[in-house]
Amino acid sequence: MSEQRYVSHAIRKLDAGALLSGKPVYTDDLAPASCLVIKLLRSPHAHALIESIRTEAARRVPGIEAIFTYEDVPDKRFTEAGQTFPEPSPDDRLILDRRVRFVGDPVAIVAGEDEKCVDRALKLIKVDYEVLEPVLDFTRALDHPVLIHPEDSYVAKPGIGTDQYRNLCASNLRGKGHVDEVLAQCAYKVEETYHTKAVNQTMMEPFTTYCTMDIYGRIKVVSSTQIPFHVRRIVARALDIPKSSVRVVKPRIGGGFGAKQTSVSEIYPAFVTYKTGKPSKIVFSREECFIHGSPRHEMQIDVRIGAAEDGKIRVIDVHTLSNTGAFGEHGPTTVDLTGTKTISLYRDLDAYRFQSEVVYTNTVSAGAYRGYGATQGMFAVESAVNELAHKMGMDPALIREMNIVRQGDLFSDYHGQRATACTLDQCISRVKELIGWEEKYPFVKTGPHTVRAVGMALSMQGSGIENIDVGTVQLKLNDDGFYTMMIGCSDMGTGCDTILTQMAADCLGCEMDRIIVRGVDTDQSPYDSGSYASSTTYVTGGAVVRACDSIKRRICQEAAALMELPPDQVDFDGNLIIDRHDPDHFMELSDLVNALQAGFGRIIEVTESNTSPVSPPPFMCGACEIEVDLETGKIRPLYYAAVVDCGTVINTNLARVQTEGGIVQGIGMALYEDIRYSPKGKLKNRNLLTYKIPSRLDAGSVHVEFAPSYEPTGPFGAKSIGEVVINTPGPAIADAVYNATGLRFRELPITAEKVYAGLKEIKGAEDADITGTHALRQG
């Protein structure tokens, strides 16, 4: 590989100019004005059977084009989850079903010429329901007498432990050694239960799709999606039409964070356009993004962890109960990361066990959200490690330094893989310096009723899914020697178009502006699994490197023939093809293309794909400093120090912004973002007034550094960055709150109300006994 002029530099995003000048580049900006407007009539009940639907009056509203109910859709069940075939999520849904399974479940699709007539029609549809008992409490869903998916047409996938007659979407058990025996031998142990909620991605651009019929009678789906190729498969199956009849195009995306790894909105306009032949679109309101989105799986995680007298962690036992909601999207796969990514942070365990059940309930169907189960697992296990340290009277940083996975280690529970690139130890020591751990741990009193405290946590994730995820890159050499690089992965704002171009420019030894990057159109782009599982930099980046090597060989081959030399006697420096024995004998790349385009050889185009047998984890350490007001319970995040090992940093700006953004999303999950349901199963937090994501006043200041390792299987030594960065705030902040108040929170979010109530309770107890922690902090 030649000199790096672009890789590891702060390169501007290629689309920055268009995005920052407000150009019409997103799905709804591009939708033809002639699109039929689609809205969905939604169930007011958490669980019911439709007895009758009367649409005649609604159909008579002027401007209404079509109304569809469960009687009009194919009866083949499918899943909206977008993962590589064979998709593990069960086929458990229809476009519209007679049984509705959550408040907000679509009952009818209404399409009309404008929003007004569609709104009128929605009000005129009359539905009679047989209201059924809902299953709302996920801790009671397994073997509940009420079944959520009793239908015969349900399709479970092999090997994931599904039992639809137990409300069980998936289950698993694995481990090593005798967990109970080892635990009994441990001098110190923590056995606790942790709970995280179904938080919402809240990407700024809502779910948006429009469809048109092309000149060949095929459906063109233009959508804000992370998974164009999977959308093609999902839409074809849902509509029961050949995949060749569907083309999916991804324009710019206004954020995804996993939400758009489920095809939440695509099937509705696809169905309307298929039935009517007319262009149609759906733009979810923010409320719909909440009540019919694809949020994080709510989880309850039992952790048992034990250590020897000296602090050596000997055993970790994780038992996760995951709530997949009404449908199973990403249910079987998210849960696994609560075990693999947490247990593998710690080395040389004598025993471990991971057990999981994923259950159906009558709540919003969950999906993929950045971190994908690791976030929930990390809150539980990293909190338990903090609790263990406190129990032992040991510094939580020290217990980690003693026990973490090191370069070269076999991971404890990671598919037999080794830590081939790991600087986690450096991440911890640098974070301690950045935050002033030694001076500030555990707390510093800052006022009559304010305390500042620190907390720490670790995180790891993956880089794509080993032996499954595929990235493909097609490179074409054009006139004057510029290249077109066709990619199939989705830039959703993260900047993968840019970083893949950086890599290609350095591989090809040319300026970035000589490479035109194009994604994604399933008719034109080479196949890619999609942008999820932290895969684009590592998996598709690997394909870039291969494609560049391949095209350089082709360039040398064609030029050598014209120069009448054997192919191995020429070198390509990016502009010139040079005779190795005679530097004055060379050919310019532009002359080569001109010659080839005039018939003196074969046109140069290459396609290379990449799959990795391993998924090297990025690592990080995060520590927060918060201030707690002991009178009001208010928690103010002041400072967050993060040091990340993502292998080689490809774009120093974009990697840093990914980290800062992930941390602040994690802070939102830790402190503010709550999802609550009414007793009848109606989701209460359905707008940005009641679901509070951090504003710039709530985030505190975030300081990010990198401790680069070199991953031998990664492009330029890179691993991934996108997901690992969201996992530390939950456990770090929970421990800082403990250090500030003595209150241990095992459920997120940790709101001021909860802290206030907890402090009040302690104070009540301590009025009788003045020696408690609260009195200490009140000073």
Partner: protein
């Protein structure tokens, strides 16, 4: 009803329904920089200027435009260029969906407060939500734009 107004420096007349919202009118006129992110006046994505002051166009009836001046990012391309460069240099554009609303509000802040300090900047822009960046890179871009040293 027929309303006449000035949009991005040009006189315009439009026949609108009385319940038309400014956001929808602007998008229907091709001003696609104006985005809808929430429907409840919380996110700041639809920020435009009405007679030079920032408003949330999702919360303004279009009828109020009669005789007034509305400005969107499409009409501020030159004025916005320098701050946009600062954002791009920090990688703070990310998905870009919140950028037009943010940029137009930063330009309003610049006109309204002379030499703003970091707290004034954060307060003024607290209604401009962003889910990608965690705000840090945006703040760096603003500090650079307003000529402040970075702490």
């Amino acid at each position: 009803m027929l309303i006449s107004f000035i949009i991005n420096g040009k006189q315009a007349k439009r026949e609108i329904a009385p319940d038309t919202i400014l956001l929808d009118l602007l998008r229907s006129m091709g001003m696609k920089s104006v985005k809808c992110g929430c429907d409840t006046g919380n996110c700041g994505l639809c920020t435009v200027w009405l007679d030079g002051s920032p408003v949330l166009s999702c919360s303004v009836p279009a009828a109020r435009l009669e005789g007034h001046t509305v400005t969107t990012l499409e009409g501020l391309q030159e004025e916005a260029a320098a701050f946009s460069r600062c954002l791009a240099d920090e990688g703070a554009d990310q998905c870009g969906f919140c950028s037009p609303g943010l940029i137009i509000n930063v330009l309003a802040l610049e006109r309204e407060i002379e030499d703003p300090d970091v707290n004034q900047i954060k307060e003024y822009l607290s209604g401009n939500l962003c889910r990608c960046t965690g705000y840090q890179s945006q703040l760096r871009a603003m500090m650079k734009y307003f000529g402040k040293s970075q702490e």
